[in-house]
């Protein structure tokens, strides 16, 4: 569908730089745009500023120079945030609230009532396979389940754009594969656009339509690799020759990026 008409641009960055108050140059001249329906992955060695890019898009940190534009206009107010969801490195759940209330939070913060939103939250919890856990507290859940709650919470306001900051880094491989598949399924269901951060080459190739490879000191984009979006993402893809070819290509780019740092 979206191949026919040019998809709208949700976020665009033009020569965006970030310099911290202590003088550290975290990002230099970052330029890219994210179109509706894409899954853009930022891949790079630790310390290359991947998370900083995400925080700038999220409006959690101000841009030092350059222009960051959201679809609704120049950043960064609560208005532009309504259309985004954020999944943090850790589940970041409130330990004193049960699963339902944790997912309810983004709606509660804009003044919605629990009653009005019950069916919506139940539907989202069903999507992430946690229907039976509404009343459970975070400390009763496994790491993977907590991450699912976090994803459900990020989707509850129907965001056009979902920002994910290395969400699965702390999980074991099997849980990670499963959540990757869930993420792809959710993306189809909700039509959400992703900006995804990872340091796993395999994960990036599996999920993305486009990979931006970053290098550190200062953080910058050194290569852009498009992954054929028409490929079916399933177990066969993960075992196939095409997947491995992409992985080799990305590995080389990442090696170059890591080398370029020194």
């Amino acid at each position: 569908m979206m191949q026919n008409e040019p998809a709208r641009i949700l976020v665009s960055l033009r020569d965006v730089s970030k310099v911290y108050r202590n003088g550290t140059e975290a990002l230099r001249d970052i330029s890219f745009e994210v179109r509706q329906g894409e899954c853009v992955t930022l891949l790079g060695p630790s310390g290359c500023g991947k998370s900083t890019v995400l925080r700038l898009i999220a409006g959690l940190d101000p841009v030092s120079s350059g222009v960051l534009t959201h679809e609704r206009g120049e950043t960064v107010g609560p208005d532009s945030r309504c259309d985004m969801g954020f999944v943090f490195q850790e589940p970041a759940l409130m330990p004193w609230a049960n699963v339902f209330d944790n997912v309810f939070l983004p709606l509660r913060l804009i003044g919605q009532r629990r009653k009005e939103t019950r069916s919506k939250i139940e539907a989202i919890l069903a999507q992430v396979g946690l229907s039976d856990f509404q009343k459970a507290y975070p400390n009763q859940l496994s790491g993977g389940q907590r991450m699912r709650v976090s994803i459900a919470r990020a989707l509850v306001r129907d965001p056009a754009l979902l920002l994910l900051d290395e969400p699965f880094a702390a999980l074991d491989e099997i849980t990670r594969f499963r959540l990757n598949d869930d993420l792809l399924r959710l993306r189809e269901t909700f039509g959400t656009t992703f900006v995804f951060i990872t340091h796993s080459i395999y994960e990036s190739v599996y999920l993305s339509s486009r990979i931006l490879v970053m290098a550190a000191a200062p953080g910058r984009i050194v290569e852009e690799i498009a992954i054929d979006a028409s490929l079916e993402r399933d177990e066969n893809f993960r075992l196939g020759e095409t997947y491995l070819a992409y992985c080799r290509k990305v590995t080389r780019a990442l090696e170059y990026a890591s080398g370029a740092r020194v």
Partner: protein, 263 residues
């Protein structure tokens, strides 16, 4: 093989030890025929509690009233000030040193002055308030400041207002610290009340337990002194258990401190 003591309910072993100690005490007093004005036997202390009930229990009520009033005021004051500190960090810089000075100066040394400047009843109340106040303030402040960075980002990201941030994030995440402060403050309020009563002497119109103990001391009525002491420790124990129960009730779902030790 686990020791048979460890298979009993948790409160049982200390209770057994306690009863054994009382029994030993009773036995020593009887066998050695120690006169009651030197060391009264537990049975005599219990008897005195009953016989002197007309003196002791009204005195207990007064002390409990003061303790409770001071504790309530300290909780309100401590929480309000901690909320102000959280809202306006400069207020913390301005006022915290004074709170610390009050805390580190021994209350026994301040009490006689308070008795001079204030009427006896308010002096006792103030004294108990001063000791209970600081731990509640300090713990609540710490709790409000110890919020998970990622949750702060989350709330910021979703455009939480300042008051939403305070009541839905900082307050619940600081609750365990606040409750810890309450447990300390509750015990200290009782100590403060007793210390102030000792300093105030008979000046107060209603005489509390500490006054009754001193008075019994002047008359060498040692059994009554022990009876008074027993009531004070029972009060302290009750306060501790009540506050622990409140704490467990509020934190039972999520905080490590409220988890049962059973596996």
């Amino acid at each position: 093989m686990r020791h048979w003591l460890s298979r009993l309910p948790g409160f049982f072993p200390p209770l057994l030890v306690f009863l054994a100690a009382l029994g030993l005490w009773e036995a020593i007093v009887r066998v050695a025929a120690i006169p009651p004005y030197i060391l009264p036997a537990p049975s005599l202390i219990v008897a005195t509690l009953y016989n002197d009930r007309a003196i002791l229990f009204p005195a207990l009520w007064i002390t409990v009233e003061i303790t409770f009033g001071a504790f309530l005021a300290a909780t309100l004051g401590g929480v309000l000030l901690a909320l102000c500190f959280a809202r306006w960090p400069w207020a913390e810089r301005c006022f915290l040193p004074f709170a610390i000075i009050l805390q580190v100066t021994p209350i026994v040394a301040i009490a006689p002055l308070l008795v001079i400047y204030l009427d006896a009843d308010s002096a006792v109340l103030t004294c108990a308030f001063l000791v209970a106040f600081f731990p509640i303030l300090a713990n609540t402040s710490l709790g409000l400041a110890a919020t998970d960075r990622m949750l702060v980002d989350l709330f910021t990201f979703y455009g939480a207002s300042r008051s939403q941030m305070l009541w839905w994030l900082r307050w619940p995440s600081g609750l365990p610290y606040f409750l810890g402060g309450l447990r300390i403050g509750g015990g200290l309020a009782l100590i403060g009340a007793i210390v102030a009563e000792l300093a105030a002497g008979a000046a107060g119109k209603g005489a509390g337990l500490a006054f009754r103990i001193t008075e019994a001391g002047y008359r060498l009525n040692i059994p009554r002194m022990f009876a008074g002491l027993t009531l004070i420790s029972l009060t302290g124990i009750t306060i501790f258990f009540l506050l622990s129960a409140v704490s467990r009730l509020l934190l039972r779902h999520w905080h490590e401190s409220a988890r049962s030790s059973e596996r």
